[in-house]
Amino acid sequence: MANLLFAATESTHAAEAGEHAAAAGHDAGEIMHHLIEHVYDHPVLHIGWHPFGWEWLDLSITKLTLMMWIAAALIFILFRLLAAGQQKKGARGRYVNFLEPFVIYVRDQMVYPTMGPKLGRKYLPFFLTQFFFILFANLLGMIPMMSAATGNIAVCGSLAFTTLAAIIVMGMVEQGLFTFWKNLVPSGMPVWLIPLLFPIEVVSIFIKCFALTIRLFANMTAGHIVILTFIGLIFIFQSYFVAVPSISFALFIYMLEIFVAFLQAFIFTMLSIIFVHMAVHPEH
């Protein structure tokens, strides 16, 4: 889905990325290659629909697609086990029990205080899915041989697009087809102010979702860039004595990044909840 949405931008980035990878230094070639992967990931198994010679539909399987599938499979398996254990009342393993406090935290501290129990129960599965998908995708990026799926701007854009679709579609479903757009502008305003305020309100929906994208993408990418920079210092200085402080700094940033992984999943879901609540149940 990420490749489907951003195929055009990825192909233009590929031309630049190819030049940069060739022009970078021979020692830093591996690092540059890994950084370019954040913007354009090259396909491993090419599945595309190119009728007249150029790409119309690019559904290739890349490394990031594989990471997203692993995250989705992990969520499916672990939460099926958790739900099955709930039914049997006590026959769960110790490790699957670990997920239950997270679910209760999302429900009781994030969704229900903002949206209320009745309305929140309706939207709870959507926010739980968002939270755990972002969390697992971020944490999979911490494992050495794998890359973070949320480190690519197309994946983050797709996640923010689900929030955008939820805001617009569920806003129109809950409030009525035109009442949603009417309620964007606060009531009791002078009539001449409405043509000025209405475009600002419409654009602000898109800007908020774009900010969600950039925040998640830049947090994940910046963490990886800092770690790669510290390791790259060893190559630049070409000596072994730089290795000891460099590796310890990189280790400290690694621990900070695990905290940032949890925090970014929390922030994305919390802001999603606030935006959907503002769209579905506007204050008077």
């Binding site: 501290q109 900010a211 950039i214 925040r215 830049a218 860039i225 929390f266 919390m270 802001l271």
Partner: protein, 74 residues
Amino acid sequence: MEGMVAHLAAGLGAAFAVIGAGYGIGTLAASALEGMARQPEASGDIRTAMIIAAALIEGIAFFALVICILLAFK
């Protein structure tokens, strides 16, 4: 020549963005800690609001970071 100016601009832009974000989050943390000291029973709510506000401010700083990365790799 353009490569040099682009790298310089990227460095300066990142520096100013970090100054702004650091000052903002520092002020935020100061008010949050003072609020928690005045009323310890509200410290859970204050902590949640502080984390949300800090992430929003940091999101703005990351806008500048993305532009600086685009400039540095020009």
